[in-house]
């Protein structure tokens, strides 16, 4: 049998094999479906974590996508481009593979595009900072003016280093390749990229480049965010706890996520309580009065339900310490793509 004939027969066999493995993974994943969020409905009734969140097995979706993607890649023997390949040289290939469901290609594409957008912004910012220090053309001079400018000096150094590290990787990247970050962000988030997920949930509508031409992104955000949030909670993601608390407490009620979830004191309490369970030392002490202040606004039944929810999620999903400096909503999209 010739080699080409052999390859021609291998295609259907691989397809059948992939399908069988995918079905097996799906069946395995669906075993645990009933364990998701048993207390959600107890917290604030209809106003608590949306019903669709409880019914979605977002973690399992993401895990399934990751495994299926890995299997697909293994079968096709198609590896990702090597690190530090310029975006312009691999954009089309990654896009095609991401659109076909390859999770690793999706997340790689998002990070590479994000890197090049960050590079443009860094250049812009550096130019402004240097213009401010126009009386002191060398950045060392900025650093010795005073304590505030000393910070500025560090930023200048960091910005220059970022530009030097990433310049060649973004050489030749076109505007078209750098447009449409929001769909890439969502795609990577759906495929299980937690950094992309946090950034997507934290993004406000006016920060979505291209949204004026894509009003459907608004509805998509409404539809996708609850499931993504639940999947992040089930992966013990403190950033999403903080983002969700900001929404439910009303602190960010006009933000995109604030509009999706609305305000709910019981959920805000549950999330604060979850943070308190994960915090330690002084930070835990400082959280205590905040938790107590919200608790005072709740009925006994709602308070008990929220406490039970927090304890349940903490014991099942959160295995790391909640660090005060770990979560800063403003920096969530400053993903480190050095």
């Amino acid at each position: 049998m010739s080699e080409s004939n052999s390859q021609g027969k291998r295609g259907p066999i691989m397809l059948a094999l992939m399908t069988a493995i995918a079905i097996a993974i799906a069946a395995w994943n669906l075993r645990g479906k009933s364990t998701a969020d048993p207390h959600a409905a107890d917290i604030g009734g209809a106003g608590a974590i949306p019903a669709e969140v409880a019914s979605r097995t977002a973690t399992q979706h993401a895990e399934f996508a990751r495994k299926a993607s890995a299997i697909a890649r293994w079968l096709s023997q198609e590896s990702l481009p090597p690190p530090r390949t310029p975006l312009s040289a691999m954009h089309d290939q990654l896009k095609r593979r991401a659109d076909a469901g390859d999770a690793d290609a999706a997340t790689r594409l998002f990070h590479e595009v994000h890197r090049c957008i960050a590079l443009r912004r860094t250049r812009d910012l550096l130019a402004q900072v240097l213009a401010v220090g126009s009386d002191h053309p060398d950045d060392e001079a900025i650093g010795v003016i005073g304590p505030a400018q000393a910070v500025q000096f560090k930023q200048v150094g960091a910005m220059k280093a970022y530009i030097a590290n990433n310049d060649a990787l973004c050489e030749g990247a076109t505007d078209a390749q750098l447009s449409g970050l929001t769909p890439l962000l969502l795609q990577a988030a759906q495929r299980g990229d937690l950094a992309a997920l946090d950034c997507y949930v934290a993004t406000d509508f006016d920060a979505m480049a291209g949204v004026l031409d894509h009003p459907e992104w608004i509805e998509q955000y409404r539809a996708e965010v609850p499931g993504l949030v639940e999947s992040a909670l089930q992966r013990g993601d403190w950033a999403i706890v903080e983002l969700l608390e900001q929404a439910y407490s009303g602190k960010f009620d006009t933000s995109a996520r604030g509009q999706v979830f609305g305000t709910d004191a019981a959920m805000a309490y549950g999330l604060l309580r979850l943070e308190q369970l994960g915090a330690s030392g002084d930070f835990a002490d400082r959280l205590a009065p905040r938790v107590a202040a919200v608790a005072k606004t709740l009925s006994t039944a709602r308070l008990a339900a929220a406490q039970a929810w927090a304890s349940d999620y903490y014991s099942r999903y959160f295995h790391s310490v909640f660090d005060e400096g770990e979560v800063n909503g403003a920096n969530l999209c400053q993903i480190n793509d050095d």
């Binding site: 130019a127 509508f205 480049a209 004026l212 509805e219 933000s255 509009q259 905040r290 107590a292 202040a293």
Partner: protein, 340 residues
């Protein structure tokens, strides 16, 4: 000629004169609305900024003047406005009806009342929370300076809360739909309220919430933002000069306006030049001069010349009464709306 015919001719004459005057005003008013042709036209040697014949029909800025001529100059003196202490819930429907019918004063009043209630709600929710947290904090480890700073901060919060509580009665009973800022900001801006235009163009769609349920606002924004921005510049508004410059430069955080304008280094340069003419301090002047020099390096010489000429013309024509930049650094046009 009998008196009846004479009166008809007189009336006709007045109408024709008014029409001619309007046409002339529109024509003349059209000239400086946009600094330069978009970059695609940068190679043109025509520096006649007042007529800019090379402006393409598809350039966003070219849409400006036709829209501007309409509602923004139709400010009308309608019936008296409700008293200042009338609750929003009681006056909303009437003010909305009047604003929709073209009453500029009613539209501005509605914009400010809604903005004030949003601010009040924000202060009552967030500053109360901040104050309660501060009061619960353990202060035993603080030194004298830290305690003094803490006291000052608490004092500021207390003042803000007192003001918000005084205003809260004016906002009682207002529905979430009545607290949506985007539609009232747009209407007030269309009827000539420059501050409303500043807010609408900068963050009006997101500042008051509601976009999730009203994605059609994006289309409204796309259709109106640039014409409102250009009109505001023609009324000597430095805040909008800054917004347009950042939008054309595609600066970080330039918001939705940057999506409407797209990037255009020539126009960004022209607005930067205009800003430099209004610089107040030597430091500001130095900063803008450096930025201008950097921007000019990447442009053809004639684009720089066109930008300089347009900026000089615009400065003289629109900023005579307001020659220095009066927008504080980091100013948020959607904050403290309607604050006394």
């Amino acid at each position: 000629m009998n008196p009846h015919n004479r009166n008809r001719l007189l009336a006709l004459g007045i109408v024709l004169i008014a029409a001619a005057a309007t046409a002339t005003w529109l024509y003349l008013g059209a000239s400086p609305a946009t600094p330069v042709a978009r970059s695609a036209d940068a190679g043109s040697t025509d520096t006649g900024m007042a007529t800019t014949p090379q402006r393409t029909a598809t350039a966003p800025a070219a849409k400006v003047t036709k829209k501007r001529a309409g509602p923004i100059h139709t400010a009308s003196a309608g019936p008296a406005l409700p008293p200042p202490d009338a609750p929003l819930a009681q006056v909303y429907a009437d003010l909305k009806t009047r604003a929709d019918a073209g009453d500029a004063q009613a539209a501005s009043r509605l914009y400010r009342d809604v903005g004030r209630c949003l601010h009040t709600r924000d202060v009552l929710a967030n500053q109360s929370r901040a104050a309660s947290w501060m009061l619960e904090d353990d202060t035993s480890g603080l030194d004298a300076d830290q305690l003094a700073r803490r006291e000052r901060r608490l004092g500021t919060i207390e003042d803000e809360l007192a003001k918000a509580r005084a205003n809260s009665g004016l906002c009682e009973g207002a529905t979430p739909a009545e607290l949506q800022l985007a539609p009232v900001a747009l209407r007030a801006a269309q009827l000539g309220d420059v501050q409303a235009a500043d807010c609408y163009v900068s963050a009006g769609l997101t500042a008051g919430g509601g976009l999730l349920d009203h994605p059609e606002w994006l289309q409204d924004y796309k259709a109106n933002a640039l014409s409102l921005a250009n009109s505001a510049v023609e009324q000597g508004d430095w805040t909008m000069v800054n917004q347009l410059q950042r939008a054309y430069a595609q600066s970080s955080g330039a918001g939705l306006l940057a999506q409407v304008t797209g990037g255009d280094p020539s126009q960004a340069y022209a607005y930067l030049k205009l800003r430099s003419l209004g610089a107040v301090t030597p430091q500001g002047n130095s900063f803008l001069s450096r930025q201008l020099a950097d921007a000019a390096q990447n442009l053809p010489a004639d684009a720089v010349t066109q930008g300089d000429t347009w900026a000089q013309n615009a400065y003289q024509q629109y900023f005579g009464a307001n020659p220095q930049i009066n927008t504080p650094r980091g100013f948020n046009p959607c904050q403290n709306i309607g604050a006394d």
